[in-house]
């Protein structure tokens, strides 16, 4: 297991894909925060809960989305480039490969979530300061934003990996994750809020400290989101150990 894990980490370090994704998402977060801070009317950015809501919706949401994409590509990329063959020749225990990938993208997701929520908070303070808006977010809010955002993105990375292992084809997996996070959950929230409370994107927001339209506490959010992650990797495990690799 240790060898497989070290190999997965080395795979991530020896291409520019993950670092490029990180640079992209941090850039998008900063741009989106700028749009909110300078574009919204003062009464929508004046209160602490408004401000925290923006940091979560931008920082946590985009961090989790990109972490999920990295997780998915950790599997689908190997099929796309054919490296799955040398990977499985070296480690024919497929469950072990999937677990090693899971641990690796979990760690990457932590980094993504911490950096995107951190970037959202820092950029928000700078941009709101330029507009002479006082920031009312508390120290405790920031801790939960960054720690919860990191945990949410880590779990989303594992969900993405499971989705990749199930779907296998890279483009449909990525499109599916984008559609779910950016559109499907929003539609669900506005049409069936009772169900949307338990949708993975909403749970991730709760984990980072959001309180509206979500389950009661970050802990419950973490628990249910972790169950999604276990389910995704579990189904991914079952199909990966049973299917052929042509």
């Amino acid at each position: 297991m240790r060898a497989a894990l070290r190999a997965e980490v080395l795979k991530q370090r020896t291409t520019r894909t993950t670092l490029g994704m990180l640079a992209a998402v941090v850039g998008i977060v900063i741009a989106a925060i700028a749009v909110h801070a300078f574009g919204l009317s003062l009464h929508r950015i004046g209160s602490g809960s408004n401000q925290l809501g923006i940091f979560i919706d931008v920082g946590e949401n985009l961090g989790s989305l990109f972490a999920a994409l990295v997780g998915a590509m950790a599997f689908t990329g190997e099929l796309r480039h054919g490296t799955i063959r040398p990977t499985l020749l070296g480690t024919p225990q497929r469950g072990r490969v999937l677990l090693a990938k899971g641990a690796t993208v979990l760690g990457i997701g932590l980094g993504f979530g911490a950096l995107t929520t951190g970037a959202a908070a820092v950029a928000g303070n700078i941009f709101l300061g330029i507009r002479h808006v006082t920031v009312h977010v508390t120290a405790g809010d920031y801790v939960l934003l960054v720690a919860g955002g990191a945990a949410a993105a880590a779990l989303w990375a594992v969900i993405g990996l499971g989705a990749g292992a199930i779907v296998r084809n890279q483009v449909p997996t990525i499109v599916g994750l984008l559609v779910w996070v950016l559109f499907a959950e929003n539609i669900l929230t506005s049409s069936i809020p009772g169900v949307a409370k338990f949708a993975p994107g909403t749970l991730a927001r709760a984990l980072a400290g959001a309180t509206s339209g979500t389950v009661a506490t970050p802990a419950v959010g973490a628990l249910v989101l972790a169950m999604y992650a276990v389910l995704a990797i579990g189904v991914g495990w079952i199909v990966t150990t049973r299917r052929d690799f042509a």
Binding site: H81, T83, G90, T91
Partner: protein, 242 residues
């Protein structure tokens, strides 16, 4: 050390793989002895590649079995140190360097890191090792694939069309690599379409057609029939009498 036992290195028995109604591999049986180079021949779509993937645990047989060193591939712990394989000429991440590709393989199989530079030297890619694989020619990719197959100092080498894309000097070099590997007691199973190349390298041929075994004989035996390998191959795979 190598070839100490005469037990078959590869034992394929009644191997069958069906995709719906079509049998890609149909009740195939053959085995390989240590220290031999065997050519695995057959027309396009005969089931060569499917057989190799069944042998290496990438696909599950519908019936029968394919064993390496008496075990199913998936049951071998650290198989990269017993079996080296190159199945496709392009199983690389285009944005990863050749050297890093080999480092990943070595790491996954707990192979001593110094083997990476050794293998780059053996296949003549030391200077190009730091370049992304996307800049490699087909011949360079074949060499990198062979380096990956050899990195664990295996006892069995399984190669699918390794001569594709190699220039004449590269083909000669490949032949010398395979021959010295077999002289050291290693066993080679190599599929190829280039019959002239096969005739110069291998001692035995296993020929399949439509998933079925049509010949399993030493090259010498074919020559004793007064036939060239090409004549025998065409006779066997086009249905004419041999």
């Amino acid at each position: 050390m190598r070839g100490a036992s005469d037990a078959p290195v590869v034992a394929v028995r009644g191997l069958t793989k069906r995709y719906g109604e079509v049998a890609a591999v149909d009740d195939l049986t053959f085995s390989l002895r240590p220290g031999t180079i065997t050519g695995f021949l057959g027309p396009n779509g005969a089931g060569k590649t499917t057989t190799l993937r069944l042998l290496l645990g990438l696909a599950e047989p519908t019936a029968g079995q394919a064993l390496v060193f008496g075990r199913r591939y998936g049951e071998i712990e650290r198989p990269g140190r017993m079996v080296g394989a190159a199945l496709e000429s392009d199983d690389f991440h285009p944005g990863r360097s050749g050297r890093d590709h080999l480092r990943v393989l070595a790491t996954a199989s707990d192979i001593e890191p110094g083997r990476v530079e050794t293998m780059l030297e053996v296949v003549g890619l030391s200077a190009a090792g730091g370049r992304h694989v996307r800049t490699y020619s087909l011949g360079m990719r074949q060499r990198l694939g062979l380096a990956g197959a050899l990195i664990g100092d295996p006892e069995l080498l399984v190669l699918d069309e390794p001569a594709n894309g190699l220039d004449p000097a590269g083909v000669r070099w490949l032949r010398s690599v395979l021959q010295s590997f077999a002289e050291g007691g290693g066993t080679v199973l190599v599929s190829s379409h280039v019959l002239a190349e096969v005739a110069q390298t291998v001692e035995r041929v296993v020929i399949i057609d439509q998933g079925r075994l049509v010949a399993n004989a030493p090259l010498q035996e074919i020559a004793d029939h007064g036939q060239s390998l090409e004549d025998a191959y065409l006779a066997l795979t086009t249905g004419a009498d041999w």
